[in-house]
Amino acid sequence: MMSDPGGLALVSLLLPAISFLILAIVSPLRKSGKPAAYTSVLLAAGSLAAAVGAWRGHAGEQVTRLAWEWLPSQGMSIATVGILADRDSTLMLILVALVAFLVQLYSIEYLHDEAPAALGRYYTYHSLFAFSMMGVVLAPNLLQLFICWELVGLCSFLLIGFWYQKPEAARAAVKAFWTTKAGDVGLLIGIILLWRVTGTFDLGELRTLVTSGAIPVEGLSLITFCIYLGAVGKSAQFPLHTWLPDAMEGPTPVSALIHAATMVTAGVYLLHRTVFLFPPDVLMVVAWIGAFTALLAAVLACVQDDIKRVLAYSTVSQLGYMMAAIGAGFSAVGFFHLLTHGLFKALLFLGAGAVIHAVHSNDLPDMGGLAKKMPQTALVFVIGTLSLAGIPLFGGFLSKEEILGATMAGQQIGPFVLLMIVAFLTAFYMFRVVFLAFFAAPVVSGFSRTSHGPAEAGHYSDGPAGAGHYNAPHDPPAVMMLPLWVLALLSLGVGIYSTITGHFLQFGPTEGEHAPAWLTPAAVGIAFAGIGLAWLVYQRRTIDAGRLAAVFGPIRYAALHKFWIDDIYDSVLALALLAFSRMVGWLDRYLVDGVLNVVSAWTVSTGDVLRTVQTGRAQDYVYGVAVGLLILILWVRWALT
């Protein structure tokens, strides 16, 4: 049992659940802070080891399925619970377990100023998240997947709102919850519709139905589109992408784990698992929306000054990349990018966290020249950025090339052009961050500001840890550096291996995917062009940033307002809600209350008439009794005989 991949995957899934239960039930442990953190980290490490074991344990295409009957009804069961350990799910399991473990380790130091009870709460949520996410990854059927899917949404809500005393954090948490919920409703409807026509939730049985030709059923487009809606919400695709940048109100490690590496990629993973159901017309929609989202988010990322928001939009953009690949019909490529992206985006977020931890500000103008003060952080951040830009020898190179090649091979020329523009913008905005934060001189005289006097130094004291060591930003301690280095070396390792050999694990150029020879040089060239432009503008300052902004005046203006998408939501929702509540108010006032008022008025007036019968004089009652008795006697005498 212990050596087979199914058992190990189960262990990997259950260890975080055990951690969650211990922390949730044993409240003294939870409130003690650090010990709770150590418990959670230890079990996460065990979970990672089991995940690696599960991945190594299975061979090739082997699929291990452990399932228990669930919801028994009339001798059969409607659904099963269990795990499905195959090549993809165990690989994804490793990513989840790895990032969860590293982020939990990192958080011990990052959140060292939190109250013990808050820290315990943080690790409780983290354990629950790790369990739920692994549940999504290993789910053998759509019903279990949906349950875990909702659980990760809950954890996301709880962790975005970790600093719930901050109104923005509370707002962002609710916004994230509702926006993803809008998509989840689609997913639920899709799953149920699918069950109605096929009678099964099970992924394996669905695949059998497809191969036996039973599945292209009527309404499949609608069903798969509904399933896609769930992915739109979770993976922050246009038009439901607005929650992800706001979700950055949560602690940075949370953003790294949930809003970069794992939860937001659940949508991509869901499509990867169910893509065999998707008809071409829906895939076309997936590809176009993915590419459009990628472009939109990349443009938005160029104008952000908050380092975390740049990374958030970058995540949205990369999710668009993955979706475009799936839409082009090469879901394995999208999944490959999901894995590499998980590594380097977690790295970037944790690196940004280290910077924020040192500078006590999210804003790029407050940073600058940090490379000298935090050399290690700068180094790993640059590795992450080069991976994201798709430079050869770095993590994202092969997966990004594959996606571009996949869109070409899938005859999706429109999305391909959009993605090429995005590749340029990605390199540009990420190196804008790198230069502004690490290499260029501070834009607004940076650190010297604190030396002017206590009044200005006080400006920074509202940061999470006060202004104590603001004057000397430095590399974070080893507990925080270790996860950064692990992720950086993994990104590098994947990058070097995949660049040299041209494939990685099961991923590589597949049949039917013939990328033209010019694609790789063009993509790399366009990335270098982006880097060069960023260098000229933000490092050398040969091109004035203001003039560059002026050239793109209207677009920049629109991007600064997030293309008014949030405003449109606000006004449409406000209008719709107001109209709806007016209607409900009218109905309540005139229809519901009206009926009640009429009934009560009738009751009162009828009572007024009937009260006169009650004279209060005993003789009248006797008279009534006598007459009643007489009538009764007559009735018995004549009517009943």
Partner: protein, 99 residues
């Protein structure tokens, strides 16, 4: 005379009593009406007892008379108390239960 004559007499007395109970304004008059109704019942009991040749009705009547006496005593006591509280014994003035 047969049983029927007695029964007619009893019914007549009962109706006179009921008429008194329903129409008299004075509470004492109402009590008198009630006594008449009870006596009508007694006549019936005695008549049935005589014509059936059993003593049960007679004995039952004795009990009824005893209870009637007690009832009259309690009724009169109530009337006196009522007069003390309300300064009237007229039944149509006693309408506290009027709806």
């Amino acid at each position: 005379m047969g049983l029927q004559a007695y029964l007619i007499l009893a019914a007549t007395v009962f109706c006179i009593g009921l008429f008194g109970v329903v129409t008299r304004r004075n509470t004492i008059g109402i009590l008198l009406g009630i006594e008449l109704m009870l006596n009508a019942v007694n006549i019936n009991l005695v008549a049935f007892s005589h014509f059936n040749g059993t003593a049960t009705g007679m004995i039952f009547t004795l009990f009824t008379i005893c209870i009637t006496v007690s009832e009259a005593a309690i009724g009169l006591a109530l009337v006196i108390l009522l007069f003390r509280v309300r300064r009237t014994v007229m039944a149509d003035h006693l309408d506290l239960l009027k709806g």
